[in-house]
């Protein structure tokens, strides 16, 4: 059996990859994908520790996370769509009419 720490490290690594993606990508869709990575990092933990603790709470919650991630993507794509219509671009750094 793989020790639990490894799962934690894997999840943390995936989470950080997602985070770095968010920090470096300017494309809104890539931004969204990075968020998905972060959410799935959490799912790794849930599934792994569901197994570890011997209850299904984690697994079930993993399903919820996926469903919510999907809903989030749906909303996100809608917003990115109107972003494109208004700013002719999906570069998230272009929309800066409001600041300070």
């Amino acid at each position: 059996m793989v020790p639990a720490e490894w799962y934690l490290l894997l999840a943390a690594a995936v989470f950080c990859i997602g985070l770095i993606g968010i920090l470096t990508r300017r494309n809104a869709l890539l931004f969204l994908m990075s968020v998905e990575l972060m959410l799935n990092a959490a799912n790794i933990n849930f599934v792994a520790f569901s197994y570890q603790w011997g209850n299904v709470t984690g697994q079930t919650f993993g399903l919820f996370t996926m469903a919510l991630a999907a809903a989030e993507v749906a909303i996100g794509i809608g917003i990115i769509l109107v972003l494109y219509r208004n700013f002719d671009d999906i570069d998230v750094t272009k929309a800066t009419t409001m600041r300070w």
Binding site: N45, A48, I75, I79
Partner: protein, 501 residues
Amino acid sequence: MLLQSQLPNSLALAPVLVLALTALLLLVVDSIDPDSTNSAALAGISVVGALTSLGFAGWFLSAGTGQVSTGGGISLYGEALVVDGMALFFMAIFASVTAMVAIGSYDYLRGKPHQAEFYTLVMFAATGMGLMAAANSLATAFVALELASLPSYALVAFLKKNRGSVEAGLKYFLIGAVSSAVFVFGISLVYAATGSMVFSDVAEALNGTEFVGVAGLGVLMIAGGFAFKTASVPFHFWAPEAYEGAPAPISAFLSSASKAAGFAVAFRVFTEAFALSAIPAGIDWVLLFQILAVVTMTLGNFAAATQENVKRMLAYSSIGHAGYALIGLAALSAGSAQNGNVMGASMAHLLVYGFMNTGAFLFIALTEHWDIGRRFEDFNGLGSQAPVACAAMTVFMFSLAGLPPFGGFFSKYFLFAGAIGAGFWWLAAVGAVNSALSLFYYSRVVKAIWIEDPSGEFQITSKPIGLYAAVMIAALGTLVLLPGFGPVIEMAQTAATALFA
């Protein structure tokens, strides 16, 4: 005992269920006739739904449902949800704000497409907020938080042709997505450390856990998720733009109800799951909230002081108020008898804030309806044109600043007094200094409205009944809370004390 003898326990959630049903009903109505622009019917359904929800919450509160006097919180669905005094108190706040926003939106949305969707999303978001207040497990907390957030993203970007609205929606969504990822990762870490998500089990498992580091990381990241919802530093960056760009009623909705919902769930999580009596010494979340409270109120107020745009000023001031409300979590100490008072005062502040801040944003909605600009100068001399609404705005501003004799004064007074009573006089001192600073920028609005000469001609041709009514209700709420503040603070502090029992 009233409720227990008359209704099944599952109906304790009635305030939330009513909101959800209203949302579905709106969808059905829109499905029947998608092309209808009968906004009065839609707004009417929403208002009735919100008021029914408020009625249930008020009834349950007065009947003592879920409170200590009738045997404590009612837990439902395998302890996933719990209905107690605090949950009902916050549900009342959400329902009130929702009702005001729905009334105000009737005029604001006139002639715009997709009205049914607007109201549906508002009702769904309100449902989510109600569930947040009742969540008794990290899983429901997350789901409810998302249920509140997702419609909010869409609502902020509701004006599809308005660049500000879209930009606001984008920023809100992106920061929100990151925050919820952080939040859910925090949950996964806490789950990794404890093996459970139900608050009481989490607390039990945390007591003497060996995974302090993992749990600590998790607690911190969960706090981050709440910081996003409450617009607290360092997760506040979305707030100024989202509030400024969003349709004004939605700004009101988010900055009042959504913020309160964040606090509602934060209060419960940190008193039940991460209770001070159970948490390992290495996880000092009180210190975390002390830092966040001070930084948040200072940053919010300082940034608000230099704004030129009234709506944006209100947005920053909303961040400042999140800082005040954070005192409810920051001025706690293990086993202190004052804990309930401090947190109760924070809840009461959120209630008063729900009225005065909603009112202020709805006034902005009114000016947007009139196509008056958003800067301070644009408001010059407005008092002579619309004295009633401007008088209400004056009440909101002074109440937000915490001047006696308005509701905001009492809630702040009890909050700071509670902090001092709990031994955190320096928190109260920072709060008081910030309140003094806030008077500066709030009074700028009042000065512009009443004292300055008009810089241009106003084209005020209409008196939108809905918006006026909503502003007046908010003003009335702010004022009625003067004589009614005694019972409110008592109720809030009783409900909060029950959490620490």
